[in-house]
């Protein structure tokens, strides 16, 4: 028994010590096209992954690494190029109002979208792809109780199939992100007789239309993709085989890349880039992504489920919030801690058609001090300011075990101390801090934080980010905990702009309204946008054909990859 308790104690220590790998880093920007001589055919490329997919079924998956693997296997009707434009994949064109494929109903409240499939496409098992697969995909997403989310699909009222290649999707509302709704098609013929897809082989060997098919899935070891001989483009893929090899950490992945055991690796930290840059046999792919690291400032009282109209004794003062921003040396942090591989943040939407790039005020500690002096925050004998008996002492939370974030914290604690604001670090594991759940004690949901640093990645359509995060009705309360307005930001004009943006398909109007919201947000100084993070991957120079894509992971064009002989 003593041994058992010892074993449990050791176990808990080990668990605590190991910590969690940093949650998937970023996605990114400028496309770096590998200098391509004429591609050669054949060969096997090995890609190191330091997370292993629990499932490859797109409707269950919630790991980034699943996309990395599935990019070679599963396709949808349309996808996004690096400029954030929708391009057709299996469809002949992306339906729009302009080309007549998308139409508002007579009352102007609903949307009908007509998709035409390219003719002659086959699943990798040789069965033809038809419009029935589109309808089936929707049905599965709505029927299976274990799907990850039903975004878009829950907005669909019905789907008509006038012929084998055409599907007309009737939306209940004006669902603007419809082009990417069907991003992963599922094969009806294979699955329709299954009562529970989660218990079939599909979750490990999904059937797709992509350039490769999964031939082997060895849990925690490797996933092998082989050339799909039924692929619609007979000139692709160049490679015969891709092996995704499990490595215990990105450190080991990098070691294996240097040792020549793998050809490419997924997701490096900024701190690892100098190591790659000094090896002539290796190349980096740095692509600006939509992920934005930010520090959110709680404007309501720091206690469980505060009254949304309550005012934080320190951060309730806009001059205090402004001062913290002035005393944040973003560029210096990027240069020193992120090796220049990021850009100073300016808004939650840094990429795509709705990007808002009006910069926040830059680093100026003098202005910070002036703002605080003006607002009546007086420095005490210990150098910390106070006002009306309230000492300027705040807590600062982020995820534990994240080296980069911990270093950023150290810098900022010093900077803020210099302007007379005391900040105490109070970190929590990401499974709590970012649990997004009230029962999981997420401090953002409960409102139990002063300053909280984390990253968030908006999709190509920003509505799913802007609405739940910045509308005043989305402040989480005990009665309704679903909102994500963590800073407790309240602005009636912003609310109106969000609602206007959600009620139209006119991209110019939407862009203008989102810009209004983000300007209001920055004028209120409730969030410090630290930096826009890049997605960083690495390869041996012999592996060619890579291209970056802001909105997709590096394997998005895996069919074009080839190995120099």
């Amino acid at each position: 028994m003593r041994r058992l308790s010892l074993a449990l104690a050791v176990l808990s220590l080990v668990l605590a010590a190991c910590g969690q790998p940093a949650p998937g880093g970023a996605t990114s920007a400028a496309p770096t096209v590998a200098a391509s001589a004429s591609p050669t055919r054949g060969g096997t490329a090995i890609v190191a992954i330091w997370q292993f997919p629990a499932t490859l079924a797109a409707h269950y998956a919630n790991q980034t690494v699943t996309d990395i693997v599935n990019n070679g296997v599963i396709e949808g009707l349309a996808e996004t190029n690096t400029n954030g434009e929708y391009i057709p994949t299996l469809a002949t064109k992306v339906p729009t109002i302009a080309n007549g494929g998308a139409k508002l109903t007579a009352d102007g409240k609903k949307l009908d979208v007509t998709w035409e499939l390219k003719p002659g496409i086959k699943w990798s098992d040789g069965t033809p792809l038809t419009s029935a697969d589109i309808k089936y995909t929707w049905e599965i997403w709505m029927k299976d109780p274990k799907v990850n989310n039903r975004t878009g699909f829950s907005e669909i009222e019905s789907i008509d199939l006038p012929n084998d290649l055409t599907a007309v999707v009737h939306y209940k509302s004006i669902y603007a992100p419809y082009p990417l709704n069907f991003g992963s098609l599922m094969p009806k013929a294979l699955l329709e007789k299954e009562t529970d897809i989660s218990k079939t082989d599909y979750v490990r060997r999904p059937l797709g239309t992509g350039p490769f098919k999964v031939t082997e899935f060895k849990t925690d070891e490797s996933i092998t993709l082989e050339k799909n001989t039924n692929y619609r483009d007979t000139t692709r893929p160049y490679l015969d085989k891709i092996i995704f090899k499990s490595v215990p950490s990105s450190q080991v992945g990098l070691a294996q890349l240097k040792a020549g055991e793998v050809h490419a690796m997924w997701n490096l930290t900024e701190a690892q880039t100098p190591e790659v840059e000094k090896e002539s046999s290796l190349a980096l792919l740095v692509v600006q992504g939509p992920t934005v690291e930010r520090i959110e400032l709680n404007t309501a009282i720091n206690k469980e489920y505060p009254d949304p109209s309550s005012v934080h004794p320190i951060l309730g003062d806009i001059e205090m919030r402004k001062a913290l921003l002035y005393a944040t040396p973003k560029q210096q942090i990027i240069d020193k801690l992120l090796f220049g591989k990021a850009k100073p943040g300016s808004s939650p939407v840094s990429q795509g058609w709705a990007a808002y790039k009006e910069p926040q005020e830059s680093y100026d500690p003098k202005k910070a001090n002036e703002a605080l002096d003006k607002a009546g925050w007086v420095k005490g004998s210990d150098g910390i300011r106070s006002k009306g008996g309230v000492r300027a002492s705040l807590t600062y939370a982020t995820t534990t075990g994240d080296q980069l974030r911990e270093r950023v914290q150290q810098v900022l604690v010093e900077e803020w101390k210099a302007i007379g604001v005391e900040v105490k670090i109070q970190n929590q594991p990401s499974s709590v801090l970012l649990s997004g759940s009230c029962t999981g004690k997420d401090p953002r949901k409960l409102g139990t934080f002063d300053l909280l640093m984390y990253a968030s990645t908006p999709g190509i359509d920003p509505h799913a980010t802007i609405l739940p995060r910045y509308h005043s009705k989305q402040i989480p309360t005990q009665a309704d905990c679903s909102g994500q307005n963590y800073t407790r930001f309240k602005n009636p004009d912003a609310d109106q702009a969000i609602e206007d943006a959600g009620g139209t398909l006119d991209i110019e109007k939407r862009r203008a309204n989102y810009a209004k919201v983000m300007k209001a947000l920055n004028d209120a100084y409730v969030i410090i946008w630290m930096y826009d993070r890049a997605n960083i991957d690495a390869r041996v120079t012999g592996l060619q054909g890579w291209q970056g894509n802001t909105w997709r992971r590096f394997t998005w064009n895996i069919g074009d990859w080839w190995l120099k002989k």
Binding site: A54, T151, T219, V432, G440
Partner: protein, 317 residues
């Protein structure tokens, strides 16, 4: 003896029940939860959360959740992992052979090395050899495995390039025994060097105690060769405590080595447990904890019984 074993087994039942209740309670009390992994995705809504909680049975009262798990568990249905949706028994079945290969090798290697070294250090107490072994074993005993493992990887994998950096085999290559053995060397060395330390210390202490006994003098007085005296008379008695130590290690055959498997990317039980712990994958954790606690209780019993068998002076009552 039979009655003793039976009584111990019966006592084990309420103990195991208590352990499973306790581990269930600890898992549930841990903040976070299996749906935390879905966060981060801007498309994941409150409705999705409620639907998944219902699909996973997490919306039921805790006692009901526990009882329904227990009911299925004892009838052989261990449930499905939340992350992979695969049967827990299958998830364990995939990892167990790898862990058995790793820990089984350690189980063979460690005694094979520990016994001769332990005997020699005791017989030649205070010799240079003894001092060298004592120094080395203490060094490894106090070395954390994660550090030792990384050191071996850097030295033999990166610098010398003699051995692979991790995994069980070269991916994409057909089965090859030599390849497997090459992958096995570093993780086995990492675990063995640390275990070897404790086992050598054990055997040395127990040998020294035995060598000083009167019957050893008698054996020598009979004119027996020193070899026979040491191996047949001393070692046989001195090995008794070691047997119990080894018996208590049996659960590791199943549980695997958490840290070492993580460092070497070894797809075994230890990694399954760690991954499940990070994801709060309750069915997987409950299954592994139930088996490992059963094995720990059983191995304690085996250790006690073997001890009594080897040393007739022990009486059970």
């Amino acid at each position: 003896m039979g009655r003793y074993v039976l009584r111990r087994l019966l006592q084990a039942l309420p103990l195991l029940f208590a352990i499973s209740v306790a581990s269930f309670a600890i898992l549930k009390a841990t903040p976070g939860g299996p749906l935390a992994a879905y966060e981060g995705n801007p498309d994941f809504t409150e409705q999705d959360r409620l639907r998944l909680e219902h699909a996973f049975g997490l919306d039921r009262p805790l006692p009901i959740q526990y009882l329904s798990w227990l009911g299925s568990f004892v009838t052989g249905d261990w449930g499905y992992g939340f992350a992979s949706h695969q049967p827990v028994l299958m998830l364990i079945g995939e990892r167990l052979p790898n862990t058995l290969m790793l820990m089984g090798t350690v189980f063979v290697v460690v005694p094979l090395l520990a016994i001769p070294i332990g005997v020699l250090t005791a017989v030649r107490q205070y010799s240079i050899f003894d001092h060298a072994v004592t120094g080395t074993t203490f060094t490894f005993l106090s070395t954390p495995t994660f550090w030792l493992g990384l050191l071996l990887i850097i030295l033999f994998g990166l610098q010398l390039r003699w051995l692979p950096l991790g995994g069980v085999s070269t991916p994409g290559a057909p089965f090859d025994l030599v390849d497997r053995l090459r992958h096995l060397i570093l993780p086995v060395a990492t675990i063995s060097l640390v275990q070897l330390g404790s086992h050598v210390r054990y055997l040395r202490a127990s040998m020294l105690e035995t060598i000083g006994q009167d019957y050893m003098r008698t054996a020598r007085a009979k004119g027996l060769a020193e070899r026979v005296v040491v191996l047949r008379h001393a070692l046989k008695n001195a090995a008794i405590p070691l047997v119990t130590v080894v018996a208590l290690d049996i659960p590791e055959l199943f549980v695997g080595a958490l840290v070492t498997e993580q460092i070497f990317g070894w797809p075994g039980m230890g990694r399954l447990f760690l991954d499940a712990a990070f994801r709060s994958d309750y069915p997987v954790l409950q299954g592994i904890l139930a088996v490992s606690s059963t094995l720990i209780v059983l191995s304690n019993l085996i250790a006690d019984v073997t001890y009594g068998y080897l040393d007739p002076r022990i009486r059970y009552s």
